[in-house]
Structures are given as C-alpha cells and as structure tokens.
Symmetry: C2
Subunit: 451 residues, 2 copies
C-alpha cells in the first residue's frame, strides 16, 4: 500500500526528472516570482509566525522549548527582507546544471562527455528557523532538484504559510513541473522520510547536534551535514604570539554558540608560560570559563584576577560547549597537537598559529578536518565567507562534499557517450581496435544541446 506521504515523495521524484532539464531563464523567473511573493505576503507570514510565537512562549514557560529556539523561530520584516535578498542572490549564481566536466574521444567519432546534473530528490528536515524553506527551496530549484521539507511542529504555521506562498509563486511559472516541492507536517512523517531511501537521494538536516545525530542514526539515506563542531586552535612554539592572541580571541569570543567556534586551545609547552597568562586574561575579561589540564592550570592558578578557572576532565576534550567555555591543554610537540585534534575533534575546522613553513605544511596535511586554518580564525569556515554565495550546510562527511557546501553539493554528473552505431566487439580480441582516449577540443554534445 502506498501511503499519502509516499505518494508525495514519488510525485516529487517523478517531477525531479523534468526539473533537471528546465532552462536557466525559467528557473530564474520562478525565483523572481518567489521573491516577489514573499514581499507581497508579508502580513500573512508575520501573522502566521505570531501564532507560532504565542504557542512557543507557552512552551517556553513550561520548559518545553529553550529561549534560543524561540529566538530562531521569530520572523520579522527585516528577516523577510533577508529571505528575499537570499533568493535574489541565488538568481545571480551561475546555473550549475549541464556543465561539461570532461570530454574525451574514445575513438574517431565516439565521444564521451561527463555532464553535471541535479542529484534528484533532496529531503530537508529542520527545527525552528522558518527561513530554511526559502533558502533551501531557492538553491534546490536553481540546481534542478526536487525537495521534500519537514519542519518542526513549533513553526508549523510559519512554515506552511511561507511554503504555500512560494509554491503558488512557482506553480504559475510555465515550465516548472507540478509536484516538485512538498512540505510534510506531522511528526510521524519524519520517520517516513528517513525510511524512503529508494526515492530520496540526499538528506539535509538543519538543527541542533542531537537532532542531526538522531537523523544520522535513523536513516540509510546519505546525510549532508555535521553533528559536532569541536574546533581547535594550536599555538605552536614558532607562533607569532600577537597573531595567536587575535585568532584565539576571535575563534572563542566573536560568536560562541556556533559550530566553528574554538572549543579547545592547545599550546606548545615552550610558549605556554609566556602566552597563556595574557590570553587567559583576555578571555576571562570576555566572560570565558577556562577548563585547564594540569600544566596550564599550574601556569594560570596563581593569577588571581582570573574569575573562572577550573581543572578539565577527560570529557572536556570531546565536548562542544557552544558557549563561553574553553578547554586548554599544553602539548609537547606539533605531533601531539595533531594527534589530539584527530582523536578528540569532530573533523570540522582546526587552526595552527605558527611562522614555521614546515609545520604549516605538516598541520595542513595531517589534520583530518574539512577546514584547516593557518594563522586564521576557525570562524572563517562558512559558505558565505568562502565565497559560495549561499550555503547548503557544513559537511564533515568524507565523501561527496566536505566543509562549507554551496550549490555544488546538490550536483552530480552523468556520462553521455555519442557514437555512430559503435559496438564493443570491435575493441575485443586479436584484431581489436585501440581506444584513442584523446581530450576533445570541439564538443559534439554542445551542438546537440543547442537544438
């Protein structure tokens, strides 16, 4: 028996075939309609959001939601401006579909093209933040991917209103297939979505660490994203300490509640006594609690104006605080620092402060993280800062897409082989023809595609 949800998912998968071949012009027109529709329907969106916020305030008082979740839920006129600007940014991005990634002559008149194409059907599961819908929907539309969304029940009115506004906008654009985008609303539908690995090609979760972990451990679909962000800065013995103060302060204090903030500071023993007291004072003044290993504690314990100084326990090294808390460890070599990072870190973003070229190379090569920073703050690891125009998410996966992921993470490729009645049996046996495997200059497939 096909359930209602399955029907929607199958419809979205079918529509993805057509969506894959929609022209850039039509897709951009639909995006423009999406932006206009958000602008025209501000009142409806704000009042739907108001209903969610009233319910959320009640849940907050009962302790069922956190203040942070309520904050993220809030939609304002300026947030709608942000959604509109985001969609207009996606219009400006180059269409990633149909790019010739490689072109190879296999033999005279037998030409192989590797062409970029959408992945197919993307599942997006998110908590709070109703702005996920326009953001991901615009990226998926531009990249030719169908999408099924499942938002949190706390944002049900906001999500529904925004989704319907956007869907109405694109369904009026000729050439956009019906049924490519769906919003699921009930809690049961999450488990249904997670089980539909024969239709959904990729899952993008947006929410807390525990939320992402739950999704990863309950589905066979590939998940693009990250659970933990346990980021390190290692201050080497050859560090320029002025850079170390700047980078460490920024990495911890500029915005502590995010995945690319520093959670553990590693310091080489040869500079620890010189570096740590001033660093600790700067962090302490910014309200950071310091959790120290034995050596760093001994260096800092007698500086009596440090307010929050405690001993770290083993668990600290694998904890993402997402808060003004920092664990500190003194190491005796760059090798120990790298080993600590690879063992306790989350393969997200880690930084070295050093002037030594060999150590820069060693750290960049041996730290197994999606972003490695040399004399720069971990906080730079972000799609916007990396110049991607829009961010799908930050991935700690080792396949497909890693680090801050833009629209390229929604793409795959297919091979197109153009022949003239060619058969493999000609290339087999004692008098076999040889393959030329010559890079092509003139692209026959482009001629076909212009038709």
């Amino acid at each position: 028996m096909v359930t209602e949800i399955e029907e929607k998912v199958i419809e979205a998968k079918k529509a993805s075939i057509t969506l894959a071949s929609v022209s850039t012009d039509i897709k951009n027109r639909a995006l423009e309609e999406m932006a206009n529709a958000l602008n025209m329907n501000r009142q409806a969106i704000l009042s739907a959001n108001m209903r969610d916020l009233e319910a959320a305030e009640k849940a907050l008082r009962k302790g069922e939601l956190t203040q942070a979740m309520v904050e993220r839920l809030k939609v304002s006129d300026s947030k709608i401006d942000g959604m509109i600007a985001g969609i207009r940014d996606v219009i400006k991005l180059e269409d990633p579909v149909g790019k010739t990634l490689s072109a190879l002559e296999l033999d005279n008149g037998l030409e192989l093209y590797q062409v970029s194409c959408p992945i197919g059907l993307i599942g997006v599961i998110f908590e709070s933040r109703p702005d996920v819908v326009p953001q991901i929907m615009s990226l998926c539309l531009k990249s030719g991917n169908s999408t099924v969304f499942k938002g949190g029940s706390e944002a049900i009115n906001s999500n529904r209103t925004i989704f319907n506004v956007l869907l109405d906008a694109i369904e009026n654009v000729e050439g956009i297939p019906k049924g490519a985008f769906h919003l699921m609303e009930t809690r049961e539908e999450v488990m249904d979505i997670l089980s539909m690995d024969s239709y959904i090609d990729l899952l993008i979760p947006r929410g807390s660490n525990s939320f992402v972990k739950f999704i990863k451990s309950n589905t066979k679909i590939s998940v693009l994203g990250h659970a933990d962000g346990i980021c390190h800065v290692y201050v080497d013995e050859d560090a320029d300490l002025s850079k170390a103060y700047t980078v460490c302060f920024d990495a911890k204090v500029q915005y502590a509640a995010v995945c690319n903030a520093m959670e553990t500071l590693l310091v080489h023993e040869k500079v620890a006594e010189k570096f740590l007291p001033k660093m600790a004072q700067m962090l302490d003044a910014a309200g950071v609690e310091l959790r120290c290993d034995k050596k760093s504690f001994e260096i800092l314990e007698n500086i009596d104006f440090i307010k929050k100084l405690i001993r770290a326990v083993e668990e600290d090294w694998s904890t993402e605080y997402n808060d003004l808390i920092l664990s500190i460890k003194v190491v005796s070599s760059i090798e120990e620092a790298i080993d600590h990072i690879n063992t306790y870190g989350s393969h997200h973003t880690d930084s070295i402060i050093t002037e030594n070229q060999k150590k820069k190379k060693k750290f960049a090569e041996l730290v197994d993280s999606s972003s490695v920073m040399i004399n720069a703050s971990t906080r730079f690891a972000d799609g916007f800062r990396y110049g991607k125009g829009a961010e799908v998410g930050i991935s700690t996966n080792k396949i497909h897409a890693r680090g801050p992921v833009g629209m390229e993470g929604l793409m795959i490729y297919k091979y197109v082989l153009i022949g003239n009645g060619d058969k493999v049996s000609d290339y087999v046996g004692p008098s076999a023809k040889k393959f030329s495997h010559r890079k092509l200059d003139k692209l026959l497939y482009d001629v076909i595609r212009e038709k």
Copy 2:
C-alpha cells in the same frame, strides 16, 4: 571492549592519516615492490589457489557453489601476469593527492585553497576473484587510502597468500605506515565491518547482485557500487536501422553475463514492423530467448524460424537476466520509452538509436542513468573503455561518484585557509571589511608545500 577486528580497523584508520601524506615516489616504489613480489611468489600463490579450487570442486558437486564462481576463483600464471600489469598501470597514473582544485583570495593576504586528499579508510568486501586484492590495494595505496579487505571463504587460501605477499612487499618500503592494510577472514567479520561506520568511510562491494544488495541493506556506511544492471536500448522512429542492428546485437550478445548488457529492447511502433523481424532473427541465431510484449509478439509470432519466443510478463521489465534472454516492448513515443527506462531500469546505462538531434538531447537529459549512450552500445560503460586506467567499480549512486569510477572515486578534498592572524570580527558589523573573493593566480600554498 575493543574487539580484535576493531583494533585492526582503528589501526588502519590511524595509519590512513600518515598514508595521506606519503610522497608519490615512495608510493610508486611500494607499488613496484608489490608487482615484483607477485612475480617472485607465483608458485606459492598457485598452490594456495589449488587448495581453494579443490575445496570448491567439492562444493560444486554438493551444489554449494556455481560453476561461474569456481571459474572466477581460478588463478593462473596469465592471471598473475594480469595482476602485475594492473599494478604497473597504477604506477603510471597521476598521483591524485594534493591537487589544488580551487584557489580563492578572501581578502588581501587571506587565501583559501581546496586541496584533494584521500577519503581515509576504505572497506572492500568481495566474493571469489582473488585478483580484487592487488587491484584495489594498488588503487588505494596510490590514492593514499587505508583498506580493510574481507574476501569470501571459498578463496581464503588464495586471498591470504596474495595479501601477505603484497603486505610483506610494502612493509619493507620506508615511509609506508604500518597497519594501513588488513585482511579479515571469518564470516562474522563481515557484519563487524558493516557496523563500523565511525571508522570506515566508504565500502566497495565486489560480487553478485544479491551480495551487493545484502551489503547495502546492512550498513550505514556509504556504498560505492551498483546492485542491478537493467540496461535498455531504445530504437527510435528516426533511427538509422543499420546502427540499431549493430548496437542491439552487441549490447545483448557480445557478453551477456555483465551488468552493462541490454536486458530490454524498446522499439518505436513506427519502425517496429520493419526493424523487429531481422533483429529477432539475428538474436535468435545467437541463441537469445525473446520475451515479447503483445505488439512485438504479434509482429514476431508468425516468423516460424525463431526458436525461443514467449510472451513477457510484468516481472520481465524489472529483471536482470545476465544471460541470453531479452525482453522486447513496442512503445508509441520517446516519452513512453524514457518513462519505461526511469521506472523499470536500474539507472545504470541506457542507449537511444536515433538520427534526430532533438531526441538525442531529450533522451540524454531525461534518462536518469549514470551513462546515456547515443547510437552506441551499452557495453561501452566501463572504466577501462572510459579511459580511467583502472576501475574501482560502476556506481549507480546519485552522490559522490556515478558511472564507471576510477581513482577519483577514492578522493575527497579539504579546505586550507592561509592568513596572517585574521579574525572574523573585522568582517562583521557596520564598518565591516569586504571579502574580495578573487580567483588567485599565484598560489601561496604551493610555496608552503615545497618546504
């Protein structure tokens, strides 16, 4: 409690960090040692294989193994020559590690590099075919990936001997980390490997469809490969029929037992009466059984010299015969053909025979398969023919790597950001600095890497 298998897997994962930074010279020296060692140890390999073959013959008589499995198990001197040649081919391939995939200035003195690197730890699970070990081990070594192998019990002596010969060879090369390669032998270890998603980054299964399906449904690790190969050729109304005869015959008959052979022939109704009788005779003469839909059966039933002609049932459209059997269906449009392929096919390889440029474009864009052939046999879909030098496998995945996959499927990338003490807080707020996002010509990271 850490089991013995887990210990090996953890050791391999640790070694992968070092293996990722081993120089091309050292890796090629190790590959040369592998090739030499196979050559020097022919007798040991052949006699180990003899022991497996004796056991296999017994199992064959009991019906526990098929003749095909016994064939695949066989190692001969010329097969060892093939293994050696394969390793020497990998030596010639360009080192895929450390390539700068993109280089972007974020701001003056703040440079972002996207650099190719190995995935980490690959799990290889295979049936019969002891030649999988040298093939995959050489590809993984060259691409800097650690590997755990698990072969079938029917090849235990051959696998163990070949693996130990290769391992001894590389362990004598200075610079290759210990513990990067392991061979697991017991049946229980398969389930253990499948459960180690926190260590193993990618699984490559090599075996029958049911074997690959079993692996896919029993692991959370990403699997690179394909289960079914249900490939189609669609003969369009605008086909050059001489090309259609050639391609269809090759796609079905040249080698029927492989994943890229044609299983279903789709014919446009306007050419069916002209095309099918001669095509059917050619296939029939080659021993192919024809399973026809109503229309094609009516066309062919009165041609009395066709020996094996039956009516197809619904199940035929989704069956991979891997044999001299072909299902045939008459369609009334290219759209019906595309829809049939996307519905019943396995997204592996599908071909259109047509002279119409618009239909070539339509078929290439709307058929959701890893390889789309235009006037060429489906049998061309293969890593060697596609010029990849060596094949990791053929993937029907929609993420990471699709179609015939060479060493590029064993690679991912990391970002390296090089700064000078840069902090994010400079790029936030009312007087925020702007990112330049300018493509770099001179690559600072190359200077560091030369150290």
